[in-house]
């Protein structure tokens, strides 16, 4: 029996101990009328070898095209050690560290994770992960509404330059709590949120302003001015950032005069494979003053009976298992293993390594932009600085072009017409540190061929 170790003798003796005639008798409290009988639509069991054949065939079917796609998930190199270590059974098969003394490995890793995230974002404290970047933002919005006692409005300003899926997830998750999400337009020349457009909200009651850096288009926002505007209007500033970009960009803790209040984002670029969109992890950091409003697990340092340093889950009175209906969030299971991988990833890269990765991504995207823009009819749509993504205008409809590239094993970027029809025939491209000059030249040649056909 797959994964069940019982011998016939075991079963006989265990039933005798229980005093039951057979295993079926153990289900005698379930009303007979409810029993389901054989489940005929389930397939027959397969051996590991057979499933391996099936999975290999399916994986081969999907191939491995060269990836110039970003849009919230990035194709970075992950050091071999990261998943060899994170897949160790002691990390992989442990539960949430409720018994702290038997979970010091996980707890110390999470404490190191919190330390690294705080350092990277320039914030005081971090939690131990949320599901992904989009849900982290939804939680940040709920947190801001709870924490901002000066505001009664429950109004949140969200730029249209923020990832469209993030905006949808926030709508789903906060939509039933009387929170009003107000969309801010982006500047059509720069692709950024012009701080001057906020003037219409001057003096109004706003709970928080969301500030992406870089934004969905890869464009850098005027984060200092936006943060200062929020604080001048008694709103909290919520930063949504790419953690790799923070190796070179000013961290949210230093935005404007006072810094952002809450910082969240997608942790995938730190050691999580693309893996069809998950598991990734959301991160959330904040100022010390807001720590009791933070959702999710938090690990703290303490001492044992003999004064030795140790780690434990702390501030648990915020959480659902204690506070129930008054908890800061319903989150229980988070993305612990992804945070573990991210910790190892950051330890292996260090600030110098992460900076090299960030710079290489930026340089490759600059280079790719130049190559592609040399094709007639292809040009960058926005004139502002970008990190590692670029919006390009195409002379013809994007989806046909991308389909043809895909057939030639190149993921040539994302068609923006779905979410931004106002941009016309535009694609969002990305070249991480993994993309080579030959790959970029190949992309250029194939695109040129398609466009001149």
């Amino acid at each position: 029996m797959p994964f069940i170790p019982h011998t016939e003798e075991d079963v006989r003796e265990m039933l005798a101990t229980i005093g039951a005639p057979d295993i079926e008798a153990l289900f005698d409290e379930i009303p007979t009328a409810l029993r389901c009988g054989k489940l005929k639509k389930l397939p027959q069991a397969m051996s590991e070898m057979e499933v391996a054949g099936l999975m290999s065939a399916r994986a081969n079917q999907d191939g491995q095209p060269v990836c110039f796609m970003g849009a919230g998930a990035y194709d970075h190199h992950i050091p071999a050690a990261v998943w060899q270590l994170a897949s160790r059974g002691e990390f992989y098969t442990a539960y949430t560290p409720y018994q702290a003394e038997a979970s010091q490995g996980t707890l110390q890793v999470l404490y190191e994770f919190q330390s690294m995230m705080a350092a990277l974002t320039g914030m005081d404290v971090s939690n131990a992960s949320l599901y992904d970047g989009a849900t982290a933002l939804a939680e940040a919005v709920l947190m801001a509404v709870r924490a901002n006692r000066k505001s009664k409005s429950r109004r949140i300003l969200i730029p249209r330059s923020l990832h469209p899926a993030y905006r949808r997830v926030v709508q789903t998750m906060v939509g039933n709590q009387n929170i009003e999400l107000v969309e801010l337009p982006f500047d059509t020349a720069g692709g950024h949120t012009d701080p001057a457009t906020l003037a219409v909200f001057d003096g109004q009651d706003i709970a928080a302003l969301v500030i992406p850096q870089p934004n969905y288009f890869g464009v850098l926002e005027e984060v200092d001015a936006l943060t200062d505007w929020a604080h001048a209007n008694k709103a909290l500033a919520i930063a949504v950032v790419n953690p790799v970009a923070l190796a070179v960009l000013n961290p949210p803790g230093e935005w404007g005069e006072q810094g952002a209040d809450i910082c969240c984002g997608e942790g995938q670029p730190l050691g999580a494979p693309l893996s069809s969109g998950g598991p990734y992890f959301g991160f959330m950091c904040c100022t010390q003053a807001l720590v009791r409003q933070m959702p999710g697990r938090i690990v703290g340092g303490t001492r044992d009976l003999e004064g030795k340093v140790g780690y434990t889950l702390t501030l648990q009175a915020r959480e659902q298992h204690i506070r129930r209906s008054k908890a800061t969030s319903n989150i229980c299971t988070n993305q612990g293993l992804m945070a573990t991988a991210a910790t190892i990833h950051m330890a292996l890269l260090g600030s110098d390594g992460l900076e090299r990765v960030a710079i290489a991504c930026h340089a490759n995207t600059q280079s790719l932009t130049q190559k592609l823009a040399s094709i007639a009819g292809v040009e960058p749509l926005f004139n502002r600085p970008v990190f590692h993504e670029q919006v390009l205008r195409l002379p013809i409809s994007a989806d046909g072009v991308l389909d043809q590239l895909s057939a030639m094993d190149v993921l040539g970027g994302l068609d923006l017409s779905r979410d931004y029809p106002e941009l016309g025939d535009a694609i969002l491209v990305c070249a991480t540190e993994k993309r080579t000059e030959p790959e970029m030249d190949d992309f250029q040649q194939k695109l040129q061929m398609i466009l001149t056909c």
């Binding site: 797959p2 994964f3 069940i4 295993i23 409290e29 379930i30 409810l34 389901c36 489940l39 389930l42 999907d62 095209p65 190199h77 897949s87 992989y92 098969t93 442990a94 949430t96 018994q99 702290a100 003394e101 038997a102 979970s103 010091q104 890793v109 404490y111 350092a119 971090s126 992904d132 989009a134 849900t135 990832h163 997830v169 789903t172 039933n176 190796a247 070179v248 494979p273 693309l274 893996s275 069809s276 969109g277 703290g300 340092g301 434990t312 959480e319 659902q320 298992h321 129930r324 908890a327 229980c332 993305q335 612990g336 293993l337 330890a347 890269l349 992460l354 340089a363 600085p385 993921l411």
Partner: protein
């Protein structure tokens, strides 16, 4: 020692980043970071050694029996891990076009279909990232259903007192008030109490069956009828699905919406706190509201169902399609079990739990519900030991760690005083169960003869009992260089 304390300025794992440092030509100075982030600077070997050593300070299923009640800590097959990590699967971008996705989507589609069959529901969406997000999605669908009918007087969700804390917290996130329903002395929901509070203000009830009290609620049909007649819907928390897999289906019990914890019943790893996956299933009337995306099959090809195809959907719960890698592991597990294997999960997890309960009560421990069958888990209450010997459940739990067993769930559910919720799962051998039973008996004897030894446990772990009051009063949540200077 922290990785930070091993850091030396200028040391690097040089093979792990681009060797040539390019120019940051396109980013004006004003946007740039002024000071480097304080990340550790260590060699590759230092990092490998450090995290290997840390891993060795964990209990895990791979190293210990881990009978944590309501968490289903069964063996996580290695094949599920390695096959879900085939290079092409890891490299697949979530926005990859359909022609580079058919293999992946086939797995997702077939998992949807298998979950429909095993839960008896009409349709399934795999996108929730964990049980709590599944609960949120489920209650949000209940709300969408009532809203669509203009039935806006329904403001309350009913939740039994034994429920997981996530239930009331999820209901509140959907804008509902929570009303608690007491459990009867036999562990079943108190139907008379339910009758008094159910009414036109009831949006729905959230139930776990078997409940967290380790018993199957025998009055489930009556409860379903009561709530349905009042116009409310029934939500099934799948935390304990392992106990009834292939025996009785939530859909047949009358539930309208369910979630399944794949990281429990379908054996995906817990990873020290996640990731999990909490797919939701619904009856026909809730189908329009399922969260997107989902995979559909037109007889020839697989394609995604999005907001465009499902305009009444409650929407999107993650940036892409949820925890895909977890879904693949569950899919692989389900294929290795097949239909018969799934029935055996319920059979042998129940056999193991009843065997343990019988042996432990024979040895003088008190079961919380001695007249009931155990399901895949059961509760002991150590009230007597706490009162007479001053040795409480926490002390027993910590001492078990010394014996090399992870402790069962303690002090949950909240309504049984000094409780241990024990869930052995089907993958444990009888010898392992016997060893654990012997350890508990031996601790009981220690508690009688040398209570201090139990009260000061653990003794054999990397740290002694930790001061969690200090952790909460003197918050230390991130390493600062001056902490250690």
């Amino acid at each position: 020692m922290l990785i930070y304390q091993q850091s030396r300025t200028g040391r690097r794992a040089a093979a792990q980043a681009p060797l040539q440092k390019a120019e940051l030509s396109g980013i004006p100075e004003a946007f740039r970071r002024k000071q480097r982030a304080d990340l550790p600077e260590v060699s590759e070997m230092q990092a490998v050694r450090h995290y290997t050593r840390l891993s060795q300070q964990n209990f895990s299923i791979d190293t210990q029996f881990y009978p944590l009640g309501s968490c289903t800590m069964k063996y996580n097959p290695r094949g599920c891990n390695s096959l879900a990590m085939l290079p092409n699967l890891l490299a697949r971008h979530p926005e990859a076009p359909a022609d580079h996705s058919q293999g992946f989507m086939a797995c997702i589609y077939e998992l949807q279909e298998m979950l429909k069959e095993v839960t008896g529901m009409q349709a399934v969406s795999l996108s929730p990232a964990a049980g709590a997000q599944g609960e949120f999605a489920g209650v949000a669908m209940i709300r969408a259903y009532h809203d669509a009918r203009g039935d806006d007087a329904r403001t309350e969700i009913l939740v039994p007192d034994a429920a997981h804390g996530t239930n009331p917290a999820s209901a509140v996130m959907c804008g509902y008030k929570v009303r608690e329903i007491p459990s009867g002395a036999d562990g079943d929901v108190d139907v008379e109490a339910l009758r008094k509070v159910v009414g036109p203000q009831t949006a729905g009830i959230m139930l776990t069956n078997p409940s967290t009290l380790g018993v199957f609620d025998r009055k489930i049909e009556e409860i379903a009828k009561l709530v349905h007649e009042a116009g409310g819907l029934l939500y099934y928390d799948g935390a304990n699905l392992n106990a009834i897999l292939g025996k009785v289906r939530p859909g047949d019990m009358g539930f309208d919406v369910i979630h399944v914890n794949l990281h429990k019943t379908f054996s995906t790893p817990h990873g020290g706190g996640g990731p999990g996956a909490g797919p939701v299933g619904v009856s026909k009337r809730l189908q329009p509201y399922l969260p997107v995306p989902m995979v559909a099959h037109d007889g020839e090809r697989y394609h995604w169902l999005t907001e465009v195809d499902c305009p009444e959907s409650i929407g999107r719960l993650s940036t892409f399609a949820g925890n895909a890698g977890v879904l693949l592991r569950a899919y692989i597990y389900a294929r290795m079990l097949g239909g018969e294997g799934m029935e055996r999960v319920a059979e042998y997890s129940t056999l193991n739990a009843n065997y343990m309960m019988k042996r432990l009560t024979d040895a003088g421990f008190e079961a919380a519900y001695p007249d009931r069958r155990a399901t895949h888990e059961f509760i002991l209450t150590l009230q007597k030991q706490a009162k007479q010997l001053g040795v409480n459940t926490m002390d027993f739990a910590k001492r078990l760690l010394d014996y090399g067993y992870h402790a069962p769930t303690t002090y949950f559910p909240l309504l049984v005083p000094e409780c241990l919720l024990i869930e052995p799962t089907e993958t444990e051998t009888r010898e392992e169960l016997d060893g654990f039973i012997d350890a508990l008996c031996s601790i009981k004897q220690e508690a009688e003869e040398h209570p201090e030894q139990v009260k000061s446990a653990p003794h054999n772990l990397p740290v002694k009992r930790l001061d969690d009051v200090r952790a909460a009063r003197e918050l230390d949540l991130a390493w600062k260089p001056d902490n250690f200077n």
